[in-house]
C-alpha cells in the first residue's frame, strides 16, 4: 500500500479500491477532475463519491448536474441501491440540475456566472456540504458562446471552490487530443483521473488511470474497475508490492503418492499451484482431490468451474471415489460455475474477490484458467492472474489452477504464461505407447522444497488417484499395460532363471560324479601297474638271490671235491 503523504490531507471517497490506489483518497478541499468518454462512468463515480460521503463519512455533498435532471439521476442510480430522495430529505445531499437550453438563451453584453456561484454557494451552505460535484460543467460551453467570459469564470469558480474548502469532483468529456474537450485540466491542476471504456472482442473493460496527483504518490497503472449492483469497485484491492507474509505450513495435495514426491508433505499453505496438461489428463480429478482433502481437514474450499457445472463435477468425481456433495452439504465446499464469456476478466476477478471475502476459504480452485483466454488476451489474463495470486497470497489462501496445454511439447510454457508466477507446477502428460494412452506426471517446479524429478504414472481408478513408478526398461519408459507386461515378464524370467540354475547345479553334480569314477578307475590301474612292476622286481631279486646261492654252493662243492670226494659229480 502506498503510504499517504501527511502534508496533503485527503478525503476518502469510500469507493472500493480507489482510496488504495490514491493512497487515501482525493485531495481534501481541492477540485479533482474526472475525465473520460461518454459512458465511461464519470457520473457514477462522482455520484458514489457524494453518496458514500453522506452515508459513510458524515460529509454532506452537493451534486450539480448539467446533464441529467435530478429525478432522472435518482432513478438511474436506484438500481445501485442509492436512495437519493431519502438522502435529500435527510439533508445529506443536494441535487441541483442546471438546465441550459441553447434555444432559450440570447447573449448580449457583459455577464458573469455569479448566478451559478450563488446557487452553488446556497446549496453548500444549506446542508453544510463538504463535497461538491459538477457534472459535466463543460455543458456551459455548449450553452454559451462567449468563451473568454466562460474561461475566466471557470478559473474563478475553481478558485472559489478551493476557498470554500470543499472537496470537489469536476467531470469532463474526453476531447480529441486532449483530456477534456474544453481543456478543463488546465484549471484543475491538483488531481486528474482518466476513465476509459474499451471493448475488445465484444467484451468491455472499464479502466481508470491517475494522470496526475500533485503532492502525492499514486499508482500510475491503468486499473480496471467495475460497475455492478453494489456500485463501483476499482481493482486491484491488493498491495502494489511483494511483501506479503509467507507460511511454511504444508497442506496435503490429497494424493498421498503425490505428497511423497513433495518431501512427503505436500504444498506450502498459501502457495499457488498450476496443474497443466493436455485434454483428459485428469487435471480436474487432481483438483477435486485437493478440494476433497481441504474439506476433510475441515477447511473451506471454493471451486470456480469454468467448464463444467457443479453437478457434473460431483457426479464425475463420484466415479473415482470421492463424494464432493457431502462437503457441499456440510458447507465446506462451494462451487461457482460460470462460463468465461459471461463477463469480462475483471468481472471474474471481482466475483472471485467478493466470494473469497464472503466465504473465507483456505483454498480455491480455478478450473480451468485456459478458458479465460476467450475473454481476454494472454497478457490480460496474465495480468488478472497476477493480481489474483497477489491477493490470495496476501490472504494466505492456497490456489490451484488447472490449465489446458494445447501441444505436447514438454518444454513449453503454459498458454497463459503463468508458469513463472506459480509456486508449484505439476505437469500431466499423455504417454502414448504400444497402442494405448497413459498419463505421466511430473513436477516441473516446486519452489522452496526438494521434489522428485521422476516421471510417475498417474493412475485414475475406482479407488481414486495414485502415482505409480514407471518402468524404466532398456526400451525406455514403459507405462500402462506395457509396464504391467514388463513386470509379468520379469516375474517369469525369475522363475525360469531359478529353474535353469538348478539344472546347471545337477549337471555339475553329475560331472563331478563321473570324474570321481574316472579317478577311481585310474587309481586301480595305477595300483595294478605298481603291483606288476613290484612283482618283476621281486622275481629279479629272488633270481639274483637264488643264482648267488647256487654259485656259492657250486664254489663250496668244488672246494669239497678236491679234498673229500672228487668223484662224486
Amino acid at each position: 500500500m502506498i503510504t499517504s503523504n501527511k502534508s496533503l490531507p485527503k478525503t476518502e471517497t469510500g469507493i472500493t479500491g480507489l482510496d488504495e490506489i490514491t493512497g487515501g483518497g482525493l485531495p481534501a478541499g481541492r477540485p479533482t477532475l474526472f475525465c473520460g468518454a461518454a459512458g465511461s462512468g464519470k457520473t457514477l463515480f462522482s455520484l458514489e463519491f457524494i453518496v458514500k460521503g453522506a452515508t459513510e463519512f458524515n460529509e454532506p455533498g452537493v451534486f450539480m448536474a448539467f446533464e441529467e435532471k435530478a429525478e432522472e439521476l435518482s432513478v438511474n442510480v436506484a438500481s445501485l441501491g442509492f436512495d437519493l430522495d431519502e438522502l435529500q430529505r435527510k439533508k445529506l445531499i443536494k441535487l441541483d440540475h442546471v438546465h441550459i437550453e441553447r434555444s432559450e438563451i440570447e447573449e448580449t453584453g457583459e455577464y458573469d456566472l455569479d448566478g451559478l456561484f450563488i446557487r452553488l454557494g446556497y446549496a453548500i451552505d444549506s446542508i453544510r456540504a463538504k463535497r461538491v460535484v459538477l457534472d459535466t460543467i463543460e455543458n456551459l460551453f455548449s450553452g454559451l458562446t462567449n468563451q473568454s467570459i466562460l474561461r475566466a469564470e471557470l478559473r474563478r469558480l475553481f478558485q472559489w471552490l478551493k476557498d470554500k474548502g470543499v472537496t470537489a469532483i469536476i467531470t469532463g468529456e474526453k476531447g480529441e487530443g486532449s483530456l477534456t474537450r474544453q481543456g478543463l485540466e488546465e484549471y484543475v491542476s491538483d488531481c486528474v483521473i482518466l476513465l476509459d471504456h474499451r471493448v475488445t472482442n465484444q467484451i468491455s473493460t472499464r479502466l481508470l488511470r491517475i494522470i496526475k496527483y500533485r503532492g502525492s504518490v499514486h499508482g500510475t497503472n491503468e486499473y480496471p474497475f467495475l460497475i455492478d449492483d453494489e456500485g463501483i469497485s476499482v481493482l486491484p484491492i491488493t498491495s502494489l508490492r511483494l511483501e506479503h507474509g509467507v507460511s511454511s505450513e504444508r497442506v496435503s495435495s490429497g494424493v498421498p503418492t503425490l505428497d511423497k514426491m513433495l518431501e512427503g508433505k505436500g504444498f506450502y499453505k498459501g502457495s499457488s499451484i498450476l496443474v497443466s496438461g493436455t485434454a483428459g489428463t485428469g487435471k480436474t480429478s487432481l483438483a477435486a482431490y485437493f478440494a476433497h482433502e481441504t474439506c476433510l481437514r475441515k477447511d473451506r474450499c471454493l471451486y470456480f468451474a469454468f467448464e463444467e457445472s457443479p453437478q457434473q463435477i460431483i457426479r464425475n468425481m463420484r466415479s473415482i471415489g470421492i463424494n464432493l456433495q457431502e462437503h457441499v452439504d456440510n458447507g465446506y465446499l462451494e462451487f461457482n460455475a460460470s462460463r468465461p464469456t459471461l463477463n469480462g476478466l475483471e468481472m471474474h476477478l471481482l466475483t472471485i474477490h467478493k466470494m473469497v471475502k464472503k466465504f473465507k476459504p483456505s483454498a480455491i480452485i480455478l478450473d480451468p484458467i485456459t478458458n479465460l483466454i476467450t475473454v481476454g488476451s494472454v497478457s490480460e489474463v496474465k495480468g488478472m492472474l497476477i493480481r489474483l495470486i497477489d491477493f490470495l497470497q496476501a490472504e494466505q489462501i492456497t490456489v490451484m489452477f488447472t490449465a489446458l496445454t494445447l501441444t505436447t511439447i514438454v518444454t513449453e510454457q503454459t498458454d497463459e504464461g503463468v508458469s513463472s508466477l506459480v509456486d508449484a507446477w505439476l505437469l500431466v502428460r499423455d504417454l502414448e505407447f504400444n497402442g494405448e494412452r497413459n498419463r505421466g506426471m511430473y513436477i516441473m517446479k516446486s519452489r522452496g522444497m526438494r521434489h522428485s524429478n521422476q516421471v510417475r504414472e498417474f493412475v485414475i481408478s475406482d479407488e481414486g488417484l495414485s502415482l505409480v513408478d514407471v518402468y524404466l526398461g532398456p526400451d525406455g519408459v514403459l507405462t500402462g499395460s506395457a509396464r504391467e507386461a514388463q513386470q509379468l515378464m520379469e516375474e517369469t524370467g525369475a522363475v525360469l532363471r531359478t529353474h535353469a540354475v538348478t539344472r546347471k547345479d545337477r549337471e555339475i553334480e553329475r560331472k563331478r560324479m563321473v570324474l570321481q569314477a574316472k579317478i577311481e578307475s585310474l587309481k586301480e590301474e595305477f595300483e595294478s601297474v605298481t603291483d606288476e612292476l613290484n612283482k618283476s622286481y621281486v622275481e629279479e631279486e629272488l633270481r639274483k638271490e637264488i643264482m648267488e646261492k647256487n654259485r656259492e654252493q657250486i664254489t663250496q662243492k668244488r672246494h669239497h671235491g678236491d679234498i673229500n670226494e672228487p668223484g662224486s659229480e
Binding site: 441541483d96 442546471v98 438546465h99 441550459i100 432559450e104 438563451i105 440570447e106 447573449e107 448580449t108 453584453g109 457583459e110 455577464y111 458573469d112 456566472l113 455569479d114 448566478g115 451559478l116 450563488i118 446557487r119 454557494g121 446556497y122 456551459l140 454559451l144
Partner: protein, 107 residues
C-alpha cells in the same frame, strides 16, 4: 436593495399581451446597474404600458436561482408571453434584446 419593483403596473388595460419580465442580478454591480437601466429604457420605448419588471437580487434570495435556472448574471427572463426566453448580459445590445423578447422578428 428593493427586490421587487413594479416600475409600470397598469395591468388591467394590457392583460392580453403584457410582458412579465424578471431580471436577476447579484448586488449592485456595474453590470447589474447597466442591465436595469438598459431594460427600463428599452421597455419604455417599445413596450410602454404593457410590461412588469421584477428585479431579483440573488444575494438576498439565493434560493430563487434554481427555479428559473439562473447561472449567469445578469439574466432577463421573459415568463409571459410564451415561449420562455432568457437573455443574459447587460442588455447593451438593444437589437438583440428586442429579438430575444420576440418584440422584433429575427432578421
Amino acid at each position: 436593495m428593493e427586490t421587487l419593483m413594479n416600475l409600470e403596473a397598469n395591468s388591467e388595460t394590457v392583460s392580453e399581451d403584457k410582458y412579465e419580465l424578471r431580471l436577476y442580478v447579484a448586488g449592485r454591480t456595474t453590470k447589474s446597474v447597466a442591465a436595469i437601466n438598459n431594460l427600463n429604457k428599452l421597455c419604455e420605448e417599445h413596450l410602454k404600458g404593457k410590461y412588469i419588471i421584477e428585479v431579483i437580487d440573488l444575494l438576498v434570495h439565493p434560493q430563487l436561482a434554481e427555479g428559473d435556472q439562473i447561472f449567469a448574471i445578469p439574466t432577463l427572463v421573459k415568463k409571459v408571453p410564451e415561449p420562455i426566453r432568457k437573455i443574459i448580459g447587460d442588455l447593451s445590445n438593444e437589437e438583440k434584446v428586442l429579438v430575444g423578447l420576440n418584440i422584433r422578428p429575427a432578421k
